[in-house]
Amino acid sequence: MNFLDVLLAGATLGGLYGLVAMGLTLQYGVARIMNLSYGEFLIAPAFLAYVLVTGLGWSPLAVLLLALPLGFAVQWGVYQLLLTPLVRRTGAGPQLEVDSILATFGLLFVVQGVMLVIFGGNYHSYDYLSVPVNILGSTVAANRLLVLVAALVLGVGLYLLMTRTRMGTVVRAVAVAPRFAPLVGIQVRQTAALAFGLGGALVACSGVLVSMFLPFSAAMGTLFAMKALIVVIMGGVGNLMGCLVAGLLLGFAETLVASFVDPGLTLAVNYALFLVVLLVRPTGLFGRAAR
């Protein structure tokens, strides 16, 4: 197996990991909501894509155009309706962490339950862009390449947006000190809702993209959420570049191990890598102080 194959496979897989985690890092990093129901909001757009693609003959790319604003709107609404009462009540203090874990855990079950009722527990899958793309003699599936491209574009783009623009600084200000943000004229609730919604748009995007090549079922959301959590923490909470880098690292590690050591150890190595990174850098690759 040549090295370029490994590199490409690692990059596409890592791109997938990074992309799936980006929305969560925004949601947790800024709005300080540990959203356990995150994975369900990845699977729901996947189902949307499935229905529109197999039922109505839409192109998944068209679904993407629908899913992005829809994902934003849904998560924005979730924040405004379900989470602001908690934020108010706890004054964004440590109790918020506990309350949001419990509330989003509940939401997880509700959304998953609804999907189970509608779609049953079956696996779903459809075929799209499953065609080889040749890059310097190595082949990679177009749909997976698309994910990598999306991850790079969104990751780098949002990272620049967050670090280079005033709006980004505002969002980060809410992340680090929500209590003091109003002192400089920042509307905390709106900003947090915005970040939460943006996270929703991102996760919807990854849901649609994932549905192009991974079979999914209503029960699978938590798997994605857990993976995303690992990537978020490894990259450093709230840091999109961290997400991308951590995702890619995990992807490369997994592919290298699968190719040269033993595919049976891929996930073990992934977790081990994650643990080692934390032991060396207790706040993740790009993280600042823990809170």
């Binding site: 600084t169 680090v176 000190a177 109003p182 002192l183 920042i186 600042r288």
Partner: protein
């Protein structure tokens, strides 16, 4: 002109502030003196929107009633607060903190100019633009807090013990700077334990005790008032 009427603050059962009223005119420095726990910080926080005042309070600034505004609109209306404990964005850099200070629309136009002013006032900040504020010394953080408030180009600046933790030299420079800020037409409301230095630059002063205003007067009168001397200027001042 900031006109404050009848501000009360309650923490649960305990009323920390009872119907305080006062005025701050443009271009004047007003100092608020009071023992610890008297309610000075609560008063400033109520004006800055960090705690809710009891109904019936009014605080007009340029036609707007600050008490009716959501917290984030207050700074837009022209009132900036440097809260107790500084309230800086610790994980952000000095540059970003100052940039955020200029976030209100009112402050965008003159941002670059104001930044230069702040740097003149606190040259240290210009050298440490990319340091995370969390890692700065106590006094340095105080500079960031004041600098950030100035960045919003307020009409009224509220400062809660700004000299806390500043070295004597910095302290002098800060008070000198406040005098300069006043000359720009900004009204300054200052809560200070350092009564000697603050009265020296202030125009007027108020005394507050257990949540009530108990005295007011020109800075000179207060300086000479024996009761004030005893309580706030201390024995050390009488030599």
């Amino acid at each position: 002109m900031l006109e404050v009427r009848n501000v009360s603050v309650r923490y649960g059962q305990h009323e920390a502030l009872h119907g305080v009223s006062l005025d701050v005119a443009p271009g004047e420095i007003v100092v608020m003196l009071g023992a610890n726990g008297a309610g000075k910080s609560s008063f400033l926080k109520a004006l800055g929107g960090m705690v809710k005042a009891e109904p019936g309070a009014r605080a007009t600034l340029g036609g707007a009633d600050l008490m009716q505004l959501p917290a984030h609109r207050i700074v837009e209306a022209g009132l900036a607060l440097v809260p107790e404990g500084r309230g800086v964005f610790g994980d952000l850099t000095v540059r970003e903190n100052l940039q955020l200070g200029a976030h209100p629309a009112r402050a965008r136009a003159g941002e670059a100019q104001m930044r230069e002013r702040v740097f003149q006032l606190f040259p240290k900040l210009a050298q440490r633009l990319n340091q995370a504020v969390r890692t700065m010394s106590g006094g340095e953080q105080q500079m960031v807090a004041v600098g950030r408030a100035l960045m919003s180009q307020p009409e009224i600046l509220l400062l809660d013990e700004p000299s806390l933790g500043l070295s004597p030299l910095m302290c002098k420079e800060l008070f000198a700077a406040l005098a300069r800020i006043r000359s720009l037409g900004v009204g300054v409301l200052l809560v200070e334990q350092n009564a000697r230095q603050s009265l020296a630059i202030a125009d007027r002063g108020y005394l507050i005790e257990t949540g009530r205003l108990v005295g007011a007067g020109s800075a000179r009168d207060l300086q000479n008032d024996p009761a004030v001397r005893r309580a706030y200027l201390g024995a050390a001042a009488v030599h």
